[in-house]
């Protein structure tokens, strides 16, 4: 079988499908932004998109390059200050789902976006926390999207930037966190969901043509598979078409080759 889509398109489509029209979504730049807008343009027309730059209920016609492109503000219901965004909207508990990426992730979906190596003498200095620690705490649930590799799916994080399920089990509850945390980890190979008890991220769906062995080879810990692993449905023509149109519009708007 010939793959008629890229790994990134697969991740985007699967992410989009997880969203509901009733969701109020805290959108990050890049793949999450593409997924959220794909959902809005397909099965979830009523979805409310919020970017941390303060834009409430925005409906961009092209994807923003940055978290605060003019397009986001011009198509928003309104735009609030960043302190208000973090206080009244995020911490206030008004967001149902947030998207987060990571440079490193562990089996409990804790994330590192701070340093590779030691904090004081890093091999690679990454951008840092941004909004992630509190997005993870305050959104109703979190979808994490990352491409899999042994470099990024690690047994132990170099730095816990963002607390997912911690050490697993009831760790979130013990810290007084009442939201669900990471409920899906969507990769280029498969979908993980937390085990109901241990909270270890467990493969529940394999993308078309992907084997368990390929998932394990790209993961730095012994991967757990659910008792029943689904086959991820292939991207539909409509999903791929809408997504590609969105990217083409975006490239044209940015003055880049289409």
């Amino acid at each position: 079988m010939t793959l008629a889509w890229t790994a990134t398109e697969m991740m985007t489509v699967v992410s989009a499908r997880a969203l509901r029209s009733s969701d109020v979504c805290f959108v990050g730049i890049g793949l999450p932004s593409a997924a959220c807008n794909l959902a809005r343009l397909t099965h979830a027309p009523g979805i409310t998109l919020i970017y941390e730059s303060g834009t409430l209920a925005t409906r961009p016609t092209v994807l923003p390059l940055s978290i605060a492109d003019g397009e986001l503000c011009e198509t928003a219901l309104t735009t609030v200050s960043v302190p208000e965004m973090f206080r009244y909207w995020l911490q206030g508990g008004r967001i149902t789902v947030g998207f987060l990426p990571g440079a490193q992730i562990d089996r409990f979906a804790n994330l590192n976006t701070t340093v590779i190596g030691s904090y004081d003498k890093p091999v690679t200095r990454l951008p840092g926390s941004g909004g992630a620690p509190e997005i993870m705490t305050h959104c109703g649930e979190i979808f994490v999207t990352m491409k899999q590799s042994r470099r990024s799916f690690v047994d132990k994080l170099d730095f816990i930037t963002t607390f997912g399920h911690g050490e697993g089990g009831d760790h979130r509850a013990r810290l007084g966190i009442r939201t669900k945390g990471p409920t899906r980890l969507i990769t280029d190979l498969c979908v993980f969901e937390p085990d109901p008890e241990t909270k270890e991220m467990t493969v529940t769906s394999l993308h078309p043509g992907i084997t368990r062995r390929e998932v394990q080879d790209a993961t730095g810990w012994p991967v757990r598979f659910a008792d029943r692993v689904e086959d991820t449905a292939m991207p539909t023509e409509s999903e791929l078409g809408t997504l590609r149109d969105l990217h083409a519009r975006t490239r044209r708007a940015q003055g880049l080759a289409s």
């Binding site: 605060a68 492109d69 003019g70 960043v82 995020l90 951008p127 941004g130 909004g131 620690p133």
Partner: protein, 283 residues
């Protein structure tokens, strides 16, 4: 009470070696022209404060202006790393950079606390993460009613805030519209504030009764610098030059390419070079 002056005068009088300086802007309205003037005036040992240090802070760090960085996300938005920032942190070039690192929620609340005259900011956050282990300015307070432990960080009170906005009126009041970031809070939290604007108008004219305005008496200096936010953007005036951000990656990766670019485009230029970008949008 704000005073109209040239950009050179404003920076010379308000920004001193060793100051803590918040040059703010959340992708929108980033005061590039003012930051370049700080570089040209060779300020040293600055503590740079900003939620989202991007290209201008990369430039200031690379040019050796900064001794310390207080921040919560350092990157080239939508593109990738800040290579000058990484070079300073990873290899100490041009000299080591001290970091005080936070999350966005902490910085946003800390500016708001500074604007509100409070000694610290209170929020629910930093649960289960490693940042409190490397930043002693992250502490806990206990709610006297529920017993819940909440995060506390010191209020931000920079010596100087520098922001860019759309318009000033003849009295030196400043109107800012669109993505607001933390600019109002940074100005109100700072001891001194410089605002560069796209244009000075006789009167703001019809506007929302709740327009976001920084009154003249909260400002130190107002400077007309059309295009002064380029390559970021000014809502209602010009768009973000995304290609510039994409192109910055290659320039900043290499120390020599960086220095050559800075000589040609910053050291050898003045704020008037920004005017070409300051066209008024049709809308």
């Amino acid at each position: 009470m704000s005073t109209f002056m040239s950009l050179g005068e404003a920076i010379a009088s308000a920004v001193h070696d060793g100051d803590s300086v918040a040059i703010e802007g959340f992708t929108h309205l980033i005061p590039h022209a003012a930051a370049h003037e700080v570089i040209r005036q060779r300020r040293r040992d600055l503590t740079l404060v900003r939620m989202t240090p991007d290209i201008v802070y990369d430039q200031m760090i690379g040019m050796g202006c900064a001794e310390k960085l207080v921040f919560s996300w350092g990157g080239n938005p939508g593109v990738g790393s800040l290579h000058r920032f990484r070079d300073a942190v990873e290899r100490g070039w041009p000299h080591p950079l001290t970091l005080e690192e936070h999350a966005h929620a902490a910085m946003a609340n800390a500016y708001a606390a500074g604007a509100a005259g409070l000694p610290f900011a209170l929020f629910r956050g930093y649960l289960g993460v490693d940042l409190p282990k490397v930043n002693p300015n992250i502490r806990r307070v206990t709610c006297p009613f529920t017993g819940e432990e909440l995060a506390a960080v010191p209020a931000l009170r920079p010596d100087v805030a520098i922001v860019h906005a759309q318009k000033a009126d003849r009295d030196g009041n400043v109107l800012i519209e669109g993505i607001l970031g933390v600019q109002k809070e940074a100005v109100l939290a700072a001891k001194r504030a410089i605002v560069t604007v796209e244009e000075i108008v006789d009167d703001f004219g019809p506007r929302s009764p709740n327009a976001v305005i920084l009154p003249s008496w909260t400002l130190t200096a107002v400077v007309e610098v059309p295009g002064g936010a380029y390559p970021s953007y000014a809502h209602g005036y010009y768009d973000r030059d995304n290609a510039f951000y994409l192109g910055w990656d290659a320039i900043a990766r290499d120390r020599e390419a960086f220095m050559a670019w800075m000589k040609a485009n910053v050291l050898g230029q003045g704020p008037e070079a920004f005017a070409a970008h300051g066209r008024r949008a049709a809308a």
